[in-house]
Amino acid sequence: MPDSPRFEPAEYARAAAAAIGLPLRDQHLPGVALNLSLAARMAQIVEALPLTPADEAAPAFVAANAARDVTSANAARDPASANAARDVTVAKAAPK
């Protein structure tokens, strides 16, 4: 693998700030560059853990929060279904 180019935090900060419409003031640049350098060191630590394609990100999207959201939606139509759905949720989620 060829050597990766050197990370220049101040240069990067200006370019990235333009990309997200953030007017970066000159007096803030040294502090921002310092923090980006620190983040780059943290990123190196993170990068050093080998991952496989099966390693998913921690946040997992939930279409509905267990039966709770479904329960609220159903409750208006059928009050009896609300309790049933909630009981199922609690039984499933109870810790061992």
């Binding site: 900060a13 953030l22 990123a43 390693d55 929060n65």
Partner: protein, 460 residues
């Protein structure tokens, strides 16, 4: 006086909640710790009067009857602007209703005295707030209270209120608990509703209580448990009360090594050793990849915080506290790859770390790497290197909140006896698997009974 004793007196009609409230308001007005940013006097007197009326009418005033409480100023209080430690939020309208946990406490009879100082937008471990001034450690007014819930910890340690609430994203309940010498609980991620709390980094944000005794910590925690459909991160598993739990029979307790056995000063490790000795354990366990988990939390926090505040960073960056501004600006600019990789590492770290629970049920680790630094101190020497003192305050807490495990910060009763500099407070993290707060409360109550852990009384 502690919360349990106040509630017992008020419930029995031996003491008026209104008198207790007036005393707490007077204490808040003469606050030497710069803990309060708002005193809600009219509200407190009205709530106290309602408690007294309930007692007089023979109705149950609740388990926290007449107990004065205060909250970090990121909790919504009806009619009060939710500052979250900032100047910017002063432009916001007052909150329309109380945060969920505040509603739970007051429904249990608690009396709200006011709002407490914090690091701006919770991004710090020191509460050296530029807009409101630094909160001061009740054990030495020249030292930091810790943060970001520094006002909460100072108010409890200094005896202004028996119970306060704070938030913990990377250590913001546990760090000030340790530096101020009180009990703090960061429950399992998703246990307590965060509705009405001004968030910082949503995927790590937890809310929890501070107290000077285990019974009071349990009383507050039990009152706040409840299902809330308005917090998308809450994972409701039903109420699990902890009041009265004690005894460690059957619990396997280990001491965290590796990352948790370096990066700090002698008093942090001596505190853990004293607790381990009292609990009769010398078993060492490793939470694998903890340092990498900390790095992942660092990046995700920066990115989530930067994204949250980008509209104000674009238009009024100089209105931010100088201590947080450049970190938020940098956070808004992080490459997506760093953040996404951190989220994948976080999941891999969680999977690896969960295996430690096959060996033990509770883990001991330092809460902070040292006692409270002086306000304004920038650098500290650790393991032969001079490093910035502030971010390192979270070196032991950040890897744990990264994966949402519940923790009680337990104060050493006699810090001088374990060699803490100037006898200043220091705490220990009691760590359990997700949803096992019950194990934490058993160990905490046992340590309190043994006299090893207790909130030391400030000298001055």
């Amino acid at each position: 006086m502690n919360a349990a004793a106040i509630a017992a007196e008020v419930r029995a009609g031996r003491r008026q909640a209104a008198d207790v409230a007036r005393e707490a308001i007077a204490a808040a007005r003469t606050d030497r710790f710069n803990a309060y940013t708002e005193i809600t006097e009219a509200r407190a007197l009205a709530e106290a009067a309602a408690v007294d009326a309930a007692v007089a009418a023979g109705r149950d005033p609740g388990p926290l009857a007449g107990v004065p409480v205060a909250v970090k100023n990121l909790f919504d209080l009806e009619g009060v602007v939710t500052l979250a430690g900032s100047k910017i939020n002063r432009d916001d309208p007052p909150a329309a209703r109380d945060a969920f946990l505040v509603r739970r406490l007051t429904a249990a009879g608690a009396v709200m005295i006011g709002a407490l100082n914090m690091d701006e937008y919770a991004y710090g471990f020191t509460t050296e707030n530029e807009h409101h001034g630094p909160s001061r450690n009740p054990h030495d007014l020249s030292r930091m209270a810790g943060g970001s819930s520094g006002g909460s910890a100072a108010a409890v340690a200094g005896g202004l209120v028996p119970i306060a609430l704070g938030s913990d994203t990377n250590g913001s309940i546990r760090v000030p608990s340790s530096l101020c010498g009180i009990w703090g609980l960061k429950p399992t991620y998703g246990r307590l509703s965060r509705q009405g709390g001004f968030l910082f980094a949503a995927s790590f944000d937890h809310l929890g209580p501070f107290a000077r005794s285990v019974a009071d910590l349990a009383l507050a925690y039990d009152a706040m448990q409840g299902e809330d459909a308005e917090d998308p991160a809450q994972h409701w598993v039903g109420p699990a009360p902890v009041s009265g739990l004690t005894g460690i029979a059957g619990l396997r307790i280990g001491i965290a090594d590796d990352h948790f056995a370096r990066n700090g000063h002698a008093e942090g490790f001596a505190a853990v050793a004293a607790v381990a000795k009292a609990l009769g354990t010398d078993k060492r366990v490793t939470i694998p990849e903890a340092a990498r988990g900390r790095a992942a939390a660092f990046l995700i926090t920066m990115a989530e915080g930067g994204n949250l505040h980008l509209p104000n960073l674009r238009t009024r960056p100089d209105d931010f506290d100088v201590a947080t501004r450049d970190r938020f600006l940098a956070g808004a600019l992080l490459p997506a790859h760093w953040v996404q990789q951190a989220q994948r590492v976080r999941a891999a770290y969680r999977a690896a770390a969960m295996k430690v629970w096959e060996e033990v049920d509770v883990i001991l680790a330092p809460a902070t790497p040292y006692v409270a630094p002086a306000i304004g101190q920038n650098m500290v020497e650790v393991d032969g290197q001079t490093i910035p003192v502030r971010p390192n305050l979270g070196v032991y807490t950040q890897p744990i909140s990264c994966i949402g495990w519940p923790v009680i910060a337990a104060p050493i009763a006699d810090p001088a006896a374990i060699g803490a500099p100037q006898g200043l407070p220091i705490g220990v993290q009691l760590i359990a698997p997700p949803w096992r707060e019950d194990a934490l409360f058993r160990v905490a109550a046992h340590l309190e009974t043994l006299g090893v852990c207790a909130a030391p009384t400030p000298k001055a």
